[in-house]
C-alpha cells in the first residue's frame, strides 16, 4: 500500500514548498475559471476569453520588465482589455468578434514589443516561456495572498450577479424587461473573466489560461442539467485537472531523468482527454440523418 502510494506520489511531493504554492494558486485559478467559464460558454464568448488571455501576456511581459508582481501585470492588461472591448458599442455578434479581434491584435503586438525589450535588457528568453506557458513550480509564495484576494473577489462578484448574469446570458431581452442593466452586466462579466484569466495566467500561462476557462466549463455543460450544478462541476473538474497535472508533472521528473514536463501541459492535456471522453460518451449533438442511415442499418442487422 505504502509502496503504491510512493509510486503515485513521488518522494517529497507533500513536503515540497513549490508544490504547495502551485496547488493553492492552481486551485484558486481553476475554481474561478470554472465558475466564470460556465457563463462565458453560455454567452458564446469563448473568443473574448481567449483574447483577454492573449492580451494579458503583454501585462506579464511588462511586469517582468519592471520587476513587479507578475499577477499585477496580468490583471492590469486583462482588465484594461475587457473594459475596452465592452465599452465599444456593438449591435451585432459579428461586430463583437471584430472588436475582440482588433483588441487581441493590438495586445499581442504590445506583448511582442515588451518581450523584445525583456530579451534585450535581461538577455533571457525565460520570460516569454514563463508568461506564455506558465512555470508552476517557480511561482513565488509571495503571490499567494494577492491571488487569494483576487479569487475571492471574483467569486463574490459571480455570486452577487448570479441570477441577472444567467438571465442576460440566456436572452438579453428577457433580462432587460425585468429591469436588468444588460450592458453593465456584460461589462462586469468580462471583468470577472479578466480576473480569472489573470489568475490562470500565473499558473498555466497566459496562452493556456483559455484551456482552464473553457475546458472544464464545456465538460460541465455535458454533465450537469442545471446551472448551479454546472458551475460547481466545472470548478471541481478544474481543480481535479490542476492537481492531477501538478502530480503528473512532479512525478515526471522521475521518468524523464530530472527534466520533467511542464505542469501546464499536463493540466491542459488532462482537460482535453476528459472532454473527448465525456463528449463521446454523451453525444448530445444531432447527427446527420442521411450520412449515418446506412451504417445504422448495417449495425442493426
Amino acid at each position: 500500500m505504502t509502496e503504491l502510494l510512493s509510486i503515485v506520489f513521488a518522494p517529497g511531493f507533500f513536503t515540497s514548498e513549490p508544490v504547495r504554492t502551485a496547488a493553492v494558486i492552481g486551485a484558486a485559478a481553476a475554481i474561478v475559471s470554472g465558475v466564470v467559464g460556465v457563463f462565458t460558454v453560455i454567452r458564446g464568448q469563448s473568443f473574448a476569453g481567449h483574447s483577454l488571455a492573449d492580451v494579458s501576456s503583454a501585462g506579464g511581459a511588462a511586469a517582468f520588465l519592471l520587476g513587479i508582481n507578475p499577477l499585477l501585470g496580468f490583471l492590469g492588461m486583462s482588465v484594461l482589455a475587457a473594459t475596452s472591448m465592452e465599452l465599444v458599442r456593438v449591435d451585432r455578434a459579428s461586430e463583437r468578434d471584430l472588436v475582440t479581434g482588433i483588441v487581441t491584435g493590438a495586445g499581442l503586438g504590445l506583448a511582442a514589443l515588451l518581450f523584445y525589450l525583456d530579451v534585450t535588457t535581461s538577455s533571457t528568453t525565460g520570460a516569454t516561456v514563463t508568461v506564455m506557458f506558465g512555470s508552476m513550480f517557480a511561482i513565488p509564495a509571495s503571490i499567494v495572498p494577492l491571488a487569494l484576494i483576487v479569487g475571492i473577489g471574483a467569486l463574490a462578484a459571480v455570486g452577487m450577479l448570479y441570477r441577472p448574469l444567467l438571465l442576460c446570458s440566456l436572452d438579453p431581452d428577457l433580462a432587460a424587461v425585468q429591469g436588468v442593466p444588460v450592458r453593465l452586466i456584460g461589462l462586469l462579466h468580462l471583468i470577472v473573466v479578466a480576473l480569472a484569466v489573470a489568475l490562470a495566467a500565473i499558473t498555466v500561462g497566459a496562452v493556456l489560461s483559455t484551456g482552464l476557462l473553457i475546458g472544464p466549463a464545456a465538460i460541465a455543460l455535458h454533465l450537469a442539467r442545471r446551472p448551479g450544478l454546472a458551475v460547481l462541476t466545472a470548478a471541481a473538474i478544474g481543480v481535479a485537472a490542476t492537481w492531477g497535472g501538478i502530480l503528473i508533472a512532479y512525478d515526471s521528473y522521475e521518468w524523464t531523468g530530472g527534466h520533467g514536463w511542464p505542469v501546464s501541459f499536463c493540466i491542459v492535456a488532462l482537460i482535453f482527454v476528459a472532454y473527448v471522453v465525456i463528449a463521446q460518451a454523451r453525444p448530445t449533438r444531432v447527427r446527420p440523418v442521411l450520412g449515418t442511415a446506412r451504417t445504422g442499418v448495417a449495425s442493426a442487422g
Binding site: 441570477r163 444567467l166 438571465l167 431581452d173 432587460a176 424587461v177 436588468v180 442539467r225 442545471r226 454546472a230
Partner: protein
C-alpha cells in the same frame, strides 16, 4: 399622458428601422385588465410595435406611456424568437424561476415558496411533464409554454406576447388563450397578444389593434373588423366574412392592388375554408 384607468398609451407613434418607415401614427390605449389582440399578417409590424412599447426601439415621433405601478418588473414579455443550444444547462423550471427573481442580486437561497410558485405556473401552462428537461431540447410549442410561464410567474401588470400561439396545436391554443384570459381577470393583468389569425381570440378580446401597411385601426372587434374600416386601412376593398363563428378577411377581387395584397398577406387567403 395616461388618461384615468389607462395603463398603456401609444400616441401618434411612428417607427423607422434602418431608415425604412415601418409604423406610422399608431394610436391606441389599453385599460387596466384589458385583453387586446394585435392582429396583422407577416411583416405588418407586430414585433416592431411590441418592441417599441418595451422601449427596445425608440419611436421617431409620438410617444409611449406606461404606468408601471409600484412593482419593479411590471412588464412580462414572451418574444417571438427564442433559441438556446440543446446542451445548455438550463431546465424549463430554471427559466421560470428566473422570471420570478432573475433581477435580484445574490445567490437564490433554497426556498420552498419560490419553487412552489414555479411549479404552480408550470402546471397552469401544462409544462409540468417537461419541467426538468433542458429548454434547448424542448419542442417549439413546449418552449412557448415555458416562456409564457416565465413571463407570467411574477404577475406583471402588462403582458406582451409576440405570436405565442404560432407553435401550438389547436387544442393547446384554446387552452393557453383561456389561461391568459383567466389570469388577466384574476390578477388584473393587461394583455397585448400578437397573432396573424384573430379567430382563436374572438371570444376573449376586449379590444383589437389591427395592423396593415404600417398603420393601425383599434377598438372593439365589432368596431374594427368591418368591411369599411379594414378597407380603409388596407387602401383597397376588403370583405369581412363571418361564417360558423369565424371571421375571414379576404380581398374581394383578385385583381391589381388586391392581388398584390394577397401575395403579401397570404394568411388572409389561407383562411378561406
Amino acid at each position: 399622458m395616461l388618461a384615468r384607468g389607462e395603463i398603456l398609451a401609444v400616441r401618434q407613434a411612428s417607427v423607422s428601422l434602418s431608415g425604412r418607415s415601418i409604423l406610422k401614427d399608431i394610436d391606441f390605449a389599453l385599460e387596466m385588465g384589458e385583453f387586446c389582440g394585435l392582429i396583422g399578417s407577416n411583416g405588418s409590424g407586430k414585433t416592431t410595435l411590441l418592441r417599441t412599447i418595451l422601449g427596445f426601439v425608440a419611436p421617431s415621433s409620438g410617444s409611449v406611456s406606461f404606468d408601471g405601478g409600484s412593482k419593479s418588473a411590471s412588464v412580462g414579455y414572451v418574444p417571438q424568437k427564442f433559441s438556446l443550444d440543446p446542451y445548455m444547462p438550463i431546465r424549463a423550471r430554471d427559466l421560470v424561476a428566473l422570471g420570478l427573481d432573475g433581477n435580484r442580486l445574490g445567490l437564490p437561497l433554497p426556498s420552498r415558496g419560490r419553487w412552489q410558485k414555479v411549479d404552480e405556473m408550470l402546471e397552469a401552462v401544462e409544462a409540468t411533464p417537461f419541467a426538468d428537461q433542458r429548454i434547448g431540447s424542448l419542442s417549439g410549442g413546449q418552449q412557448q409554454r415555458v416562456l409564457i410561464a416565465h413571463a407570467l410567474v411574477r404577475r406583471p401588470r402588462l403582458l406582451l406576447l409576440d405570436e405565442p400561439l404560432a407553435n401550438l396545436d389547436m387544442r393547446s391554443v384554446a387552452g393557453i388563450v383561456a389561461l391568459l384570459r383567466r389570469l388577466s381577470r384574476e390578477f388584473q393583468i393587461t394583455v397585448l397578444l400578437s397573432a396573424h389569425d384573430m379567430n382563436p381570440l374572438l371570444s376573449v378580446m376586449d379590444r383589437v389593434v389591427y395592423l396593415a401597411h404600417g398603420r393601425a385601426a383599434s377598438g372593439t372587434t365589432d368596431a374594427v373588423v368591418r368591411t369599411d374600416v379594414l378597407s380603409q386601412l388596407y387602401g383597397y376593398h376588403i370583405d369581412v366574412v363571418r361564417v360558423h363563428g369565424r371571421v375571414l378577411v379576404v380581398a374581394a377581387e383578385a385583381e391589381g392592388d388586391a392581388l398584390a395584397a394577397i401575395e403579401r398577406d397570404p394568411v388572409h387567403v389561407a383562411q378561406i375554408p
